[in-house]
């Protein structure tokens, strides 16, 4: 090691700036309490302060910021969904993402790679055509490419006919990107804290104070935590896999199940794969990170647990399919494996907006697809909390839709596509 570098390292003249200010005590009362310090909660706090000047806000996080699914996801960002409601919503998020590094003055390593959803069957080609048309109608770059053309664009894949699912084509989405997930959480958190929001880590919400009228819950007025009770004007829960547990504390049920989603990375390799490649039939997706690791994942676990354990079954299934797609990685070793608890809705669309309890809002049902929605969720949640009105873009995702039989069928674009 060079002497100058050592001197630089030991010098007190270059202190690493703290991302978040030192912890303070809980105040007795906040105008808005955000439960959950993942990307969604922190982004909501950031836009409340930055767009609406509301800073008497607390984010309560039971662990450390970004330690939930925000720090566990495979960071695919895209807007080529299937329903017009979904496409419009996710496109707003992609647009916000592009300026985020400037807003934060922090490198998010936002990297546009092109996103390819492979089709291996005639019915998949049909869905891709459908998605491409919906996308183009909404002004999104989205194109069906057939095998020969695809082979020129992504030559790294196995185009053999002698496999279980030969590749027939792909839905190509040029703006598809990946980003550094931790930086998204820290950027929002630091930006919110700088503007006066309190971020309380190691602070678990254990219950709510809710007024009753004729025996049924009416309005939230306070939040119980492991550090005491605080008064709250409004509350929003942004807790992903714990959504059902927290909504239960507020006294209502949700149409979602908590199911783990596992992922893993290989040892670092020289850069060879530029594209983000996804296959619904093979239940895999893969991209190469800026560190050279292959970031790989698949479908959710076959059944629900409130755990983040990894399983051999998952890895075997994933690798069998990865070997079909990229046969030459057989000798490559796995470096890390992990899982997150995802909150899966039956229609693969989120749940946002009002709840049966007054002044209590929800941001849930993010399943395996919510990282890309972090900026738009923050922006629209903040608008909703500030104005008391549910913004038009998120109205289709109301919890009420299950009571009105108005589901938003996003499965064709959300499952495995991440």
């Amino acid at each position: 090691m060079s002497f100058t570098l050592l001197k630089y390292g030991l010098s007190k003249g270059h202190p690493v700036p703290r991302a978040l200010p030192a912890e303070t005590d809980l105040k007795d009362s906040y105008d808005i309490v955000i439960v959950g310090g993942g990307g969604h909660g922190l982004a909501t706090a950031y836009y409340l302060a930055a767009d609406h000047g509301i800073t008497n806000v607390a984010v309560l996080e039971k662990g450390y910021v970004g330690g939930g699914n925000t720090g566990r996801n495979t960071t695919i960002i895209r807007s080529n969904y299937l329903t017009p409601e979904g496409v419009k919503f996710y496109d707003e998020s992609v647009t916000l993402y592009k300026d985020l590094a400037n807003d934060f003055d922090m490198n998010l390593m936002y990297s546009e790679r092109g996103h390819f959803t492979l089709a291996h069957t005639d019915s998949a080609i049909r869905t891709m055509r459908w998605r491409a048309e919906v996308n183009k109608h909404m002004g999104i770059e989205s194109e069906l490419v057939l095998r020969d053309e695809l082979q020129k664009m992504v030559p790294e894949l196995n185009y053999s006919e002698d496999v279980r699912y030969p590749i027939m084509g792909a839905l190509f989405h040029a703006p598809g990107a990946i980003a550094r997930h931790d930086a998204v959480a820290w950027g929002y958190g630091a930006g919110a804290a700088k503007r006066g929001v309190h971020i309380h880590q190691n602070t678990e919400v254990t219950g709510f104070e809710i007024t009753k009228a004729n025996g049924s819950p009416q309005r939230v007025t306070g939040v119980h935590t492991n550090r005491g009770t605080i008064k709250a004007g409004k509350v929003i829960q942004c807790v992903a896999g714990m959504s059902g547990v927290v909504s239960d504390m507020a006294g209502f049920k949700l149409p979602l199940k908590t199911i783990p989603l596992q992922a893993c990375v290989s040892q670092p390799l020289k850069p060879f794969l530029d594209a983000i490649v996804v296959s619904g039939s093979l239940h895999v997706y893969v991209s190469q990170s800026s560190r050279g690791e292959l970031v790989m994942g698949g479908s959710t676990d076959p059944y629900g647990v409130y755990m983040t354990r990894s399983t051999l079954d998952f890895k075997e299934g994933l690798m069998m399919h990865m070997m079909e797609l990229l046969p030459y990685i057989g000798e490559v070793k796995l470096l890390r494996q992990w899982a997150g608890m995802t909150d899966m809705t039956p229609d693969f669309a989120p749940i946002m907006g009002e709840t049966p309890v007054d002044d209590y809002y929800i941001d849930a049902g993010w399943g395996t697809w919510g990282f890309k929605a972090t900026p738009v969720c923050g922006k629209r949640n903040a608008e909703m909390l500030a104005t008391g009105k549910v913004p038009e873009t998120i109205q289709p995702f109301a919890l009420q839709r299950f009571h009105d039989f108005k589901l938003v069928g996003e499965k064709g674009a959300a499952s495995v596509g991440h």
Binding site: S243, G244, V245, K253, L254, P255, L256, K257, T258, P302, Y303, G304, V305, Y306, M307, R309, T311, L312, D313, P346, F402, H403
Partner: protein, 103 residues
């Protein structure tokens, strides 16, 4: 490997089984919409011990398992007829009694 003790086939790798959802009481066919919505869409999503339907795929066999969703520990498995003792006649036209799960 995670092992599921099947009441019919003994201990088998859990990959041979399909999860079939929580054991719930079926609402009466003529119940109101809210009751159906609750049954079809809303989930208890319990962090704790739950009673669930499981299916052994190779032998086409449904049974019930009690499992702790916080630890993934399978506490107990038994044939469905230990809970559902009466035959349910789905074709009944006049309001049939809801087939209650008997403990």
């Amino acid at each position: 490997m995670k092992i599921m003790p099947c009441p019919l086939n003994g201990p088998r790798n859990i990959s041979e089984f399909a999860y079939g959802g929580e054991v719930l009481d079926l609402p009466a066919p003529d119940c109101d919409n809210e009751t159906w919505i609750d049954f079809v869409y809303l989930e208890n999503n319990t962090a704790g011990v739950v009673r669930e339907w499981w299916y052994h795929t190779p032998t086409a066999y449904w049974f019930i398992a009690e499992r702790d969703t916080r630890t993934d520990e399978i506490l107990k498995t038994y044939p469905a007829n230990e809970v559902f003792k009466d035959r349910v006649d789905f074709a009944a036209s006049e309001a049939p009694a809801a087939p209650a799960a008997k403990e």
